[in-house]
Symmetry: D2
């Protein structure tokens, strides 16, 4: 309910700043008896970790997660799980020269105006480094989902870099882990590598579109009216740094369609209702249909570029700014594991909500 | 926190079904001393009211709002404000023939599967009729904002109908109230009238894009990390029936831009910081900048069309369905006042949150 | 989370003032499929209804409850249930002479100071009339509990009137419904009748102690640390008008005991663990043990008496005040059904929470 | 809203177990610009720290608090403040012999039954060690209150040990810090020392009554109906380990009074309204009057005693249990700083809520 917490029953409170001693997540509401280890969580953090190739920031962080509470003898106890990640590479001297200037496109100016405090160390709380804590919490959510819904699979991937989209005809789930962009289109990955290398050398940056698909989602998740599954997914994705738009299923393109073109007709399959298509993105009336849940979002280009731009100082004087140091030419890349984590948190949360209000399983049988 | 409530401090709980005796909103957290009358709320409800022209459903509802509590001698008391709207035109016989079939694209099937209850009367709780309650609550929010931020203006309008977008060069605030589509482009309004008339006669439907702009928003609204202003706006808009995507500022288009193209440079103006552009949509790091707050969303075409489609019955048998009766060829039209109401609720909520956590006004001065 | 809502998953928002057109409760989170009728709810309201004998206020209110939403064909749908009670006997002229004076012991002065609004009509929102809405909501909770935990019984009763306590040796569950004080001690009921009649004629008033026992509570309800079952019961009871203290089990008397005297030893019975005694009041570590849950609370004497007292007016001038009109000599009597309703709401809420976080039934078997 | 979080706008989430690596509090919602240092927080932790005299457990814990986030250059930033306390003395071998038995009066059995996990290390999450985190969070609340309401003073003290109450005629604020029991009655302190020494040597324990008074509370704090100031204080105190009852002002004794005896008459003083007495405990209708806010609560005797008692094992077999090791003969002593911390958290929370909903200061003037 307050400002740094996400979720209804599975509640994640993240804390920490880019250049403080540590950051982390307080995870409240994990069901008891879920197997959880630091090693299993670390897998997800390693996926997000910076500095893994030339396309992401060269800040070196081991991002090693410590479990400080809520897990006993390898199992969740039902008590809050504290996940802490020490900040290692806090070279705050990099940022000293911008302590008085506001970086355009960053939250420097609004945080200052709102709070009257200028944490110039790499953006402080507004840094995307906060998302490391989300990924750790998402690991807990995945572990719980693994116990409760073994067939659920959550996969994020990039579908567009700058103006260059993938070719859906080449979509291959197996390719996603095989390239630095988490894209299912191997040919696009090659093109993007050259494109992004050019941008990187020019000190520029570019936006991206990320899609997350959850397969094997149980029917019935979502709590109308104001905690619809799509509503909560929209909030989850929009809360990620630099995200400017969220789409469910057909997304913005739905505006251009007629009712005939947009219809997902219903048939009876062997295991229950099936649909002729999935324009809806797996959600009707805010409740999951059992189809793939498909969310897509746009990440803006990072504002930290090597081109000089105009800004002002705290005293209101005009100034020029240029962002040196280590930065990501396409921050969308590292948003992929973050978005997967948010999807996991939302789905677990709604699974628990559903179980609480309605009991296990769907209530209305068909056939 | 539960499912039918929206907001943090200004909390709106809507209740009621399409064909029950009444629906309404329980509005908790309105500051005391705000002038509120049924007449002033009715203005907003009349804007949303169905049956006002041939482009919206012919269901006849006076949508007369009654204030049952929380207002004394014309002023809010600080106690919850109960707003009730009686349903008048509940012709539920229209819907009797679909009691056993699930309408594709509607929430019939997921509500049944989740709750095991089939309220076949026009969609029950999942009907867009619920949004009348939002508009009433939004009227309260507007009244409170009027007292606290007199210069604030919230305006919604349609920017695209089906594949046909407006020409931004013809954007005219004065035109918005002059056509049935709430569009700022008078030429588009003419084209759309012919286009939609054709669809209506063919029993078809089409999607739309709606934009809402808030002008005069104070600097500093928004509560990072998980109640950012854009996060809460995304949730607010996505919770509206048939919405499939939400954009802030540049939206999906931000993905295609470079950092140079997307930058909103900062200058010092007479009243404080000014920006060279507004790609950000008035929000940085989840906090308002003082620029226009710009939100855009896509509404899918209504699934109720006169073309036969395939579906199944509760017993799993295949069936054909065709939706007769009164329906909207472009439900996006009536989403305009709803979206304005949601914007008003979110802004008031964040104004109160800001005042609570930080005190009145921004804390960090510039210049 | 806001101010007029109670509960975590089963959320009750009450609204309305003593002398407005209506009051009610918006009940969100009732599981679907629960049989609910106005007639069944009315039974509980009739129990609380004023004017039933000479010991309660002579205000005449039918307190007829209307269900406006959330129930279809006799069953809850999972959507919010709106319960409305029209105010019939709003003789606000009775209160006109106190519009400028603050009644000592009432909330008149603090509501004025906080909100700057003086709703002089019988206390407005601070009137105990608000508890009618709680009783209606409690009826919904009872219906849901009846479906989920058929053996659960919730019973409230008076154990002390003024300085006169019951004799526990005469405790008889069957007597509770047989006297106007809901006391299990028939002899006390006779004594109290004479005692209270004297106070009534003298225009005086007196406090009382109420106890509520829930029998058949499942093991495992309660959510440590800050939604412990006893914590939530304490909040629930303290929120009732005029309550000044809440006890669980041994209550204040626990302070005087030694560890040996206070111990509830554990034995193995046929159906699971049994206890040698119930000093704990059925709750250990915030979680129900399966024993009777026992809550007790003190209600202060109503401040509305016929003796002149000193006060001030809104302009700060000294004044004398004497409260004429219809009032209760022992408001504790009518707190009994209210407290039962709150117990029902808390237990249902925790049943849903438990089911959500842990699943059905206790997880750790014994024996 | 979830289970390990307390507060509405000033939200404290505690985490950690008795014998895990660390415990702490995630404090969300502290206003920005509040001076906060580890040294200042440590003062409060030292007050609660075990092993300071022969009357409290001999567990040796430095209870050194680390600030991991939310404070920059000595000031709160508005971001969440993570407070961590490492557990030093985790002699879990002490507890090994009770891993299979349930200690009567402890939460061992209910945690097992609810969660199916037995954290036998000193009670795990249910240990009173959790309260160290509350004291740390309370230190933050005190710092913020110090900035916002400089004249506010919060003082806790013991008014009864076992059956032995203080003599209110000897009440002396200055004595409270002068004895190991935090009692304002120096003569009682002497008597209690002998009494408790006897109990300690006998391996017994005893209950206590603690009172907390807040002086200088602004008028108008409290959010009716379900976040009344007394409601939230009742929840806050009842959530403390071993608390069995909470009283406001006159408390249980109010039941015995007549309306005449219980009346707090109102007069006009130099600075506003004054009252002839404070039976109400500084709260009317859930809102502070400006008088002292007085809360009192009973702590049961610790169940860990040297007398053998009957219990059962996880397999349901009968067993005898005797608690060796380090324990408190009167846990009420250490509840004093915890209760002060809870009072501070509640008052700050309501100050922020009031400011959010109503704005600074009371609205309705008198005189």
């Amino acid at each position: 309910m307050s400002f740094n917490t996400f979720g209804h029953l599975f509640r994640v409170t993240t804390w920490g700043e880019s250049h403080g001693p540590a950051l982390g997540a307080t995870v409240d509401g994990c069901p008891p008896g879920v197997p959880i280890t630091e090693e299993a969580l670390q897998v997800w953090l390693d996926k997000r970790k910076p500095g893994q190739n030339k396309f992401t920031t060269q800040r070196r962080e081991p991002d090693a997660v410590e479990i400080l509470s809520g897990v006993f003898e390898g199992q969740s106890t039902g008590s809050p799980i504290q996940l802490m990640i020490r900040n290692a590479d806090q070279r705050s001297k990099d940022y000293g020269d911008i302590a008085e200037k506001f970086r355009p496109g960053h939250a420097d100016i609004t945080y200052w105006q709102k709070y009257g405090i200028r944490d110039y160390r790499g953006g402080g709380r507004s840094s995307a480094r906060e998302t490391a804590a989300r990924v750790a919490a998402g690991g807990v959510a995945r572990a719980a989902l693994g116990a409760l819904v073994p067939d659920l699979r959550i996969t994020g991937y990039m579908t567009q870099m700058g103006p260059h989209g993938i070719d859906r005809a080449r979509f291959d789930w197996e390719q996603i882990d095989q390239n630095p962009f988490w894209t299912p289109d191997a040919a696009a990955a090659e093109d993007w590598a050259a494109y992004l290398d050019g941008l990187r050398k020019a000190g520029s940056s570019v936006g991206a579109v990320i899609e997350v698909t959850a397969r094997g989602v149980p029917v019935g998740l979502g709590a109308p009216i104001y905690a619809k599954l799509d509503t909560d997914l929209a909030a989850a994705m929009m809360s990620i740094n630099a995200v400017k738009a969220v789409e469910i299923g057909e997304g913005m393109a739905a505006a251009s369609l007629t009712g005939e073109a947009n219809a997902d007709e219903i048939f009876m399959g062997g295991d229950g209702p099936e649909y002729s298509s999935n324009h809806a993105g797996g959600i009707l009336g805010g409740i999951s249909t059992g189809q793939d849940v498909v969310v897509r979002f746009a990440v803006k280009p990072t504002s930290s570029i090597l081109t000089t731009r105009q800004t002002i100082t705290k005293s209101g004087a005009p100034a020029e700014i240029i962002t040196k140091g280590r930065h990501d030419p396409c921050v969308g890349i590292r948003a992929v594991p973050v978005a997967e984590a948010m999807m996991a948190c939302v789905l677990l949360d709604h699974l628990l909500l559903h179980r609480g209000q309605v009991g296990d399983g769907p209530r209305g049988a068909i056939g």
